[in-house]
């Protein structure tokens, strides 16, 4: 059940690789700024950056996957 959907999403994703590549630095930037504005200690900033990157990447990834699926279905 999951595998066909995954294949569809990956196929759609491949057509948009440049856009995603340009978006990844922005994701990293947002994670870094969010972390640095919540902490003062460098170690905590590094840890929180990863934390934010996982959250933002997960949420935006889900949205992107939904959009790609809907686009394919339409």
């Amino acid at each position: 059940m999951i595998e066909p959907l995954l294949a569809i999403v990956l196929a759609q994703l491949a057509g948009r690789v440049p856009g995603i590549l340009f978006g990844l630095p922005l994701l990293a930037l947002a994670s870094l700024i969010f972390a640095a504005t919540h902490h003062e200690d460098p170690a905590q900033i590094g840890f929180a950056s990863v934390h934010w990157a996982v959250w933002l990447g997960g949420i935006l990834g889900m949205v992107l996957a939904a959009v790609l699926l809907l686009g394919w279905m339409a």
Partner: protein
């Protein structure tokens, strides 16, 4: 941890700042809230008993007064590590205040202010004798001093001197991280400056310098400018260019399409600007202008030409500069009020994840 120092800041309850300047820990606090020079050091005495400290004030005239608040607050205590933490305080005599700090192993209610890191918005306005209220409780003839704004680090409880937060915020708006550098927070200042300026420069480079401009003419509202305006270094030139090009001068401050809004059909500009645009290229040449003495009238739509010339880079460059500008608003807030208050882990009194990391790295949690 036994208490080693106490800091009394200027809070809503009134009163002036005082601590024992002979104590090495409390003398550290003098960095951001120095005692007035006309108060002799022996005017303050204290005795320590476990996690409480009894502070005796002898320079308060008729005694201490708690004003504008139901209880004393604004007291912080430090242990041997020299980190200040909020503490509860009560008056036991007109000239004695007992301040109790958190003790190891004990846990108060969740909302007990001892155990929660103070929010960044609860800034210490540590200013000894800075106004009429401090005069009302004593310290006659004291010299008014500048208020000092201090935020508390959510990581280790150390004080962060915000210096002049309004100036710091303005500097950070102008150039990302400049306000933090002004406050002496070099690492964060460098981090903000390096990351946000890089994003901005990359965006400008992708958009060939044409993605940041201000325009509010009918049919041509540049909404992206609202986000880009989060960085003053590009927002100000864009505003200047737009105001002059659309004004009576009919040419921007510096004769280049950088930061200048695109020309609309039938827009009139000076011959000098028309010549500069033709030299610059970017889809415009001398034949695109009619003679309308003393001006030149443009035929065509410069924005469409930019978009045709740059393709998707125009949109990506716009996105980079908008994101950089919007993220810089958080940086401005950080310069103004210090780090944002982190979420508290449910069921504990620690910031989310702090206890686990402290245990994993062998570090002490804040308290």
């Amino acid at each position: 941890m036994p208490i080693r120092g106490i800091l009394w800041d200027q809070g809503e309850s009134g009163g002036g700042g005082a601590w024992d300047p002979a104590d090495p820990v409390t003398s550290y606090a003098d960095r951001f809230a120095p005692l007035p020079k006309n108060v002799p050091p022996n005017d303050v005495g204290h005795t320590i008993d476990g996690n409480s400290v009894r502070v005796r004030f002898t320079h308060v005239g008729q005694g201490l007064a708690c004003r504008h608040a139901e209880q004393l607050h604004g007291f912080a205590v430090a242990g041997a590590d020299g980190h200040f933490h909020w503490a509860a305080a009560r008056e036991t005599a007109p000239i004695v205040v007992v301040v109790s700090g958190p003790s190891r192993g004990s846990r108060g209610p969740r909302n007990d202010r001892w155990f929660l890191p103070p929010p960044a918005s609860h800034r210490l306005t540590a200013s000894p004798n800075s106004g009429p209220e401090s005069d009302a409780v004593g310290n006659p003839g004291s010299t008014p001093q500048r208020k000092r704004f201090v935020a508390i680090s959510p990581d280790d409880g150390t004080a962060i001197d915000l210096r002049n937060p309004f100036l710091a915020a303005a500097l950070s708006w102008l150039v990302p991280g400049l306000g933090q550098l002004y406050q002496g927070r070099m690492l964060k200042g460098g981090l903000f400056m390096g990351s946000l300026l890089t994003a901005l420069v990359v965006g400008m480079w992708l958009g060939a310098g044409r993605v940041v401009y201000a325009s509010w003419r009918p049919g041509e509202s540049r909404l992206a400018y609202v986000g880009q305006a989060g960085i003053g270094a590009v927002a100000i030139p864009a505003l200047m260019q737009s105001a002059r090009l659309h004004g009576a001068a009919k040419e921007p401050w510096f004769a280049s399409s950088w930061f200048a809004p695109p020309l609309r059909p039938e827009q009139q500009v000076t011959p000098a600007y028309a010549a500069a645009l033709a030299r610059e290229g970017a889809g415009v040449d001398a034949d695109d202008f009619f003679d309308r003495p003393p001006y030149k009238q443009f035929r065509g739509d410069q924005l469409s030409r930019w978009q045709r010339l740059l393709g998707r880079n125009f949109e990506i460059g716009t996105l980079y500069t908008v994101i950089a500008g919007m993220l810089n608003l958080l940086v401005v807030l950080d310069a103004f009020a210090g780090p944002l208050h982190p979420a508290v882990e449910p069921g504990t009194d620690q910031p989310a994840g702090a206890a686990g990391r402290a245990a994993g790295k062998g570090r002490r949690s804040p308290d």
